[in-house]
């Protein structure tokens, strides 16, 4: 007796057997019929599946040279406990995260020396202009919020980022469909054909950034991406003059998960773009294996402003390099209500006007 080969239905997952009447494979559960070759190919692809393999070398940053940190001081916020780094001449005395006073706690020590820094390119004036622009043209923003902003407290902070380089090998299986429609005298027909599209190959990523500070929300930092690494320079303490710097408190190892997530997603997206000629393409299964992964430690320039309004904290951030300004804003619920009612009335009236014209023109 030969081996009894059992196939899984690509449509519903049930076990399929050969239907001798139609000389085809047929799923007893969903009644879908298959060519033998299709099932064999699908089965092979299923058997070749590999799991993800994401290994990195995370030895980023370097040790500080002797005397290099002499001019650096550590400051601590009395309120939120945030620890930041500045040079000894730093004028600011408020915590960039919560706005409360900060005090010098002593000579800077410990932590790694960043590999790179992207110096601030936009000054405080630009940051203020960015905020004003960010607040303008938003009809549902409470008016008082604009007026009550302590715009002068906007601060330039160097935020620690881990930058990940990697090569990715991928085997991805996509489920694709083609839809064909036609009609005869009595019926409209829609034929949906299902395909398996397998893609394998490699792709490289450079300097995928992951925020290394717990004080900075990851989504806020990802929102002001991208930073242009071409303008990065090897780190020197001189760049910190006049600005604050945050020390990383999330290690490179801990940051990898986020980098992996983004790399995997991008790999799937990129190979998906080679699956063409279909009506829809969805990723069914993917195996992404990383190699030659390495991490670097860099400081990126960010302008941040914290505001408390109606008991809730709002934090704005501006990319200190390209000026991209983000920050969620409060909603004026009453204005939203007024607008909803007003606009609904206007649109309803317009719709009625149009239908009346259509009625006159005998279209409806």
């Amino acid at each position: 007796m030969g081996n009894v080969q059992e196939y899984k239905c690509p449509c519903c997952g049930g076990a399929i057997h050969f239907d001798s009447a139609i000389q085809k494979m047929k799923c007893p559960f969903c009644d879908t019929e298959f060519e033998m070759e299709a099932l064999q190919g699908y089965d092979e692809a299923l058997n070749q599946e590999q799991s993800d393999e994401m290994v990195w070398d995370t030895s980023a940053g370097s040790e500080w040279g002797e005397g290099e940190t002499n001019g650096l001081r550590t400051y601590q916020c009395q309120s939120c406990g945030g620890e930041i780094v500045g040079d000894e001449s730093m004028a600011a005395s408020a915590c960039p995260y919560c706005g409360n006073p900060i005090v010098v706690t002593g000579q800077f020590s410990g932590a790694l020396k960043p590999d790179f820094v992207i110096p601030f390119k936009l000054d405080k004036k630009a940051a203020k202009a960015g905020l004003m622009h960010h607040l303008s043209g938003k009809r549902l923003l409470p008016k008082v919020f604009k007026d009550q902003n302590h715009i002068d407290e906007i601060k330039g902070v160097y935020v620690p980022f881990w930058l990940f380089d990697t090569e990715a090998d991928a085997d991805i299986r996509y489920r694709a469909t083609k839809v064909r429609t036609w009609s005869d005298k009595n019926y409209n027909y829609t034929e949906t054909s299902y395909f398996m599209a397998g893609r394998s190959g490699s792709i490289g990523f450079t300097r995928v950034p992951v925020d290394g500070s717990t004080k900075m929300e990851d989504d806020l930092m990802e929102s002001i991406e991208p930073f242009d690494f071409k303008e990065a320079v090897p780190f020197q303490t001189a760049y910190l003059a006049g600005y604050m710097a945050d020390k990383y408190d999330v290690s490179a190892e801990e940051s990898i998960a986020r980098a992996n997530e983004r790399v995997k997603r991008s790999t799937e997206d990129n190979f998906k773009s080679t699956v063409t000629g279909y009506t829809s393409v969805t990723t069914e299964q993917s195996s992404v294996r990383l190699h030659d992964g390495s991490a670097k430690y860099a400081l990126y320039p960010v302008w941040i402003l914290n505001t408390t309004w109606n008991g809730k904290q709002y934090r704005f951030a501006m990319n200190g390099q390209n000026g991209k300004f983000v920050g969620d804003l409060p909603l004026d619920k009453k204005a939203a209500q007024t607008w909803t009612i007003g606009l609904s009335a206007v649109f309803a009236a317009a719709a009625y006007g149009v239908s009346w014209l259509l009625w006159l023109a005998r279209i409806i």
Binding site: S200, S223, N270, P330
Partner: protein
């Protein structure tokens, strides 16, 4: 044909006699070759008083409009294959019509078949388009169905008056002229729903402006340019499904309006149309 023709004249004459006994008005007006009453109630649908009223109404209207506006009621088609042929022959044999073109029209209802028909002739063909005839029939339909024939005939006279006026003014009633049914009360409701949906959508858009912090989905900005290398590619057809949906049957609308004509057994050109009641 001759036989049935004379039979009809017999019918008509009977109607004439029945009517003329009570109607003393005799028209010998210019252009009309009036031998028969304009209202021939051979099915005896109306009371005597109503017969007089309708006859007077039709006479006045016909005189004024210089067109024979006539009505005949029959019990059955009496050997005629269609009510159209019956109506045409009645009109022709009664010698209705004004002037050389025999301008006019005749409304015939046959009680057994419960059919009505309007036969037009001469200028009547121009004035009463197919759509116009259906309009007149539609106006009468309720009264006919209820058995209120006198009211139906009053409506007929009024509609004919209007349609002839309209035709004389240069625009015969045709497709698209039918008075519109009022807009469905659903329309304002639907408009309100559309308004609310759009209003909420726009406000949602305005709310979305307030939110600018969101996670990056992927790392598209950090793909090393030109680093992508596709080494394996396999596209395999698995299976297909066919769904079919029954088409909605749409009744096709007729041609571009106007009046359709045919030639009656006596060789006269008639227009006309009709229906059931």
């Amino acid at each position: 044909m001759k036989r049935t023709g004379s039979k009809l004249i017999g019918m008509a004459a009977a109607g004439l006699l029945a009517v003329s006994a009570f109607s003393t008005v005799v028209y010998a007006a210019e252009g009309f070759s009036s031998e028969y009453e304009r209202f021939l109630d051979t099915a005896y649908l109306l009371s005597d008083a109503e017969q007089d009223e309708i006859t007077e109404l039709l006479d006045e209207l016909s005189e004024r409009q210089k067109m024979d506006v006539t009505i005949a009621t029959v019990n059955n088609l009496d050997g005629y294959s269609s009510i159209e042929a019956c109506a045409d022959d009645l009109y022709d044999y009664c010698n209705f019509g004004y002037g050389p073109d025999r301008d006019g029209l005749m409304f015939v209802i046959s009680m057994e078949e419960r059919e009505w028909h309007i036969s037009t002739c001469g200028y009547g063909i121009t004035a009463f388009t197919d759509a116009g005839i259906q309009y007149v029939g539609g106006q009468m339909l309720d009264s006919l169905a209820d058995g209120d024939y006198a009211q139906a005939f009053r409506t007929y006279a009024a509609c004919c008056d209007d349609l002839i006026d309209q035709a004389r003014a240069g625009h015969p009633f045709d497709e698209g002229d039918a008075p519109r049914k009022a807009m469905s009360p659903m329309v304002p409701l639907i408009c309100i729903v559309i308004g609310v949906v759009l209003g909420v959508a726009v406000v949602q858009g305005m709310k979305a402006q307030l939110k600018s912090v969101r996670k990056e989905r992927a790392a598209a900005n950090y793909v090393r340019p030109g680093s992508m290398n596709l080494t394996g590619k396999q596209d395999l057809f698995l299976y297909s499904h066919v769904d079919r949906v029954k088409k909605e049957t749409k009744s096709s609308s007729g041609g571009g309006g106007g009046s359709s004509t045919h030639t009656s057994s006596s060789g006269t050109k008639h227009g006309g149309g009709g229906g059931k009641f």
